[in-house]
């Protein structure tokens, strides 16, 4: 109801999804899969043709169109939640139910990561079904410009470094706590401009050398 009013007020057309839904989604998925399988590496996402309503970025839109559908409750942070255009875009293209509580979400989309709610407020999965946890997509990330953290774990030969931001000051402590929960815990996808990186719960953050 309110989306219809919104559309007539602004007379903005609904932004388009993938131009080639089958192959664009496949290509984007392979990038996400490689990012998840090789924590700390940057993978390229082709975002041409996507002009989603702000503050949704083309890269996050590509991830959303690739992974979300009516089976995946999605939680949005405040800037997204207050944009009717974003909600219409998500509802039309994915059909994902938008939920109010982080713990109910299969996916969480965060465009203002500096004000991220604690990772512990998302669904951590259960000991018997750890796969039922939330995957958190953090938007507006810049790679290589922030203090790097050292990573260790599956998918990483010896060690890897990840430098990304902006993030809240307590973020990396929360990620360490998250990996101590293994096999429970959330998985993180960092989304920059045309590139992504990921941290599954299995990755350990090594204490920074003094």
């Amino acid at each position: 109801m309110d989306t219809a009013i919104d559309a007539s007020e602004h007379t903005t057309a609904l932004a388009a999804g993938f131009q080639d839904p089958v192959h664009d989604a496949q290509e984007c998925f392979r990038a996400i899969m490689n990012a998840m399988a090789r924590p700390g590496t940057e993978q390229l996402i082709r975002e041409d043709g996507l002009v989603p309503p702000a503050p949704l970025t083309p890269t996050v839109a590509a991830i959303v169109l690739t992974l979300l559908d009516y089976d995946t409750p999605v939680w949005l942070d405040r800037p997204l939640m207050t944009s009717d255009a974003v909600k219409s875009f998500l509802r039309f293209h994915t059909g994902a139910p938008i939920v109010k509580e982080p713990v109910e979400a299969a996916f969480a989309i965060v465009t203002d990561p500096a004000h991220l709610v604690p990772l512990a407020s998302f669904n951590q999965g259960s000991a018997e079904y750890p796969d039922r946890s939330t995957t958190v997509v953090l938007s507006s990330q810049e790679f290589g410009k922030h203090a790097p953290v050292t990573l260790e774990g599956p998918g990483i030969k010896d060690r890897a470094a990840l430098s990304t931001g902006p993030l809240p000051p307590v973020f990396w402590d929360q990620v360490s706590a998250n990996s101590r929960l293994f096999p429970r815990g959330v998985d993180l996808i960092f989304s920059g401009k045309g590139r992504i990186s990921a941290l599954p719960r299995s990755t350990r953050i090594l204490p920074s050398e003094v």
């Binding site: 496949q26 996400i32 998840m36 090789r38 018997e128 796969d131 998918g155």
Partner: protein, 309 residues
Amino acid sequence: MNDTAQIFDQGEYNFAYLDEQTKRMIRRAILKGIAIPGYQVPFASREMPMPYGWGTGGVQVTASILGKDDCLKMIDQGSDDTTNAVSIRGFFEKTAGVRTTYETSEATVIQTRHRIPEKGLREDQVLVFQVPIPEPLRFLEPRETETRKMHALEDYGLMHVKLYEDIAKNGHIATTYAYPVKVNDRYVMDPSPTPKFDNPKIDQMPALQLYGAGREKRIYAIPPYTKVKSLDFDDYPFEVQKFDKPCGLCGAENVYLDEVILDDQGGRMYVCSDSDHCEERRANGHLGPMAADPAATHFAGGASEETVQ
């Protein structure tokens, strides 16, 4: 020869057969599987146009990751030209129109039934396993509710009792295939019925490994460079099969060999199970002790003719 390409051009199927919603569901399961190495992620396995037991799990995983630029290799017990490999390769040629190959190094996606290629895999390759029974504890505890609890509590004592009973009965661990492994020091996992000869290759493999079980509706994964340890005891360490003869055709040692019966007089030979590895070695001039044997000629000749096509 080219009917498969024509069938693909008719556009009768979505790319790689599965509909997009199914692919998304499987893709999400794959991501969770990668994030929790060795944990079996439940997924809504679809009915495929082939019976359970023909690799429906592997086929669904491959269909969900495959892109139009991928090059696909299919192997069945190490061989590219046995029934299961031929039919699934044909399936993807028809429904996805992707390039296929026999060569391990050329492939970007390799779907396998119960072998890992002898040639080391690279970081840009993905190995997809067809899995019949994904639950390593299933024959020890038939109830899913119980095995799920055992995984949750990391309670794997029963599996060690089973291996111990092997030793008590046979003097050694008599499990030769589907040999249980512990992934990333956490989950005990069934590496599908590959011979235990292949277990060391799973450990720290540069390629991503995805496992799909269609009938049992489970997907699991091992990310690249992950610690995978075959279960054993301090005094009975894990050992792989050893062969006292080299491959009869290419003379390779330290590879997994198949026994081939040549006649009804007791004639037999041992040849590489990995047919691509064997052909590549022969093309490079390696000859085994039976390469010139008339009984083996049609076997070797037939195989190399296939590659020329």
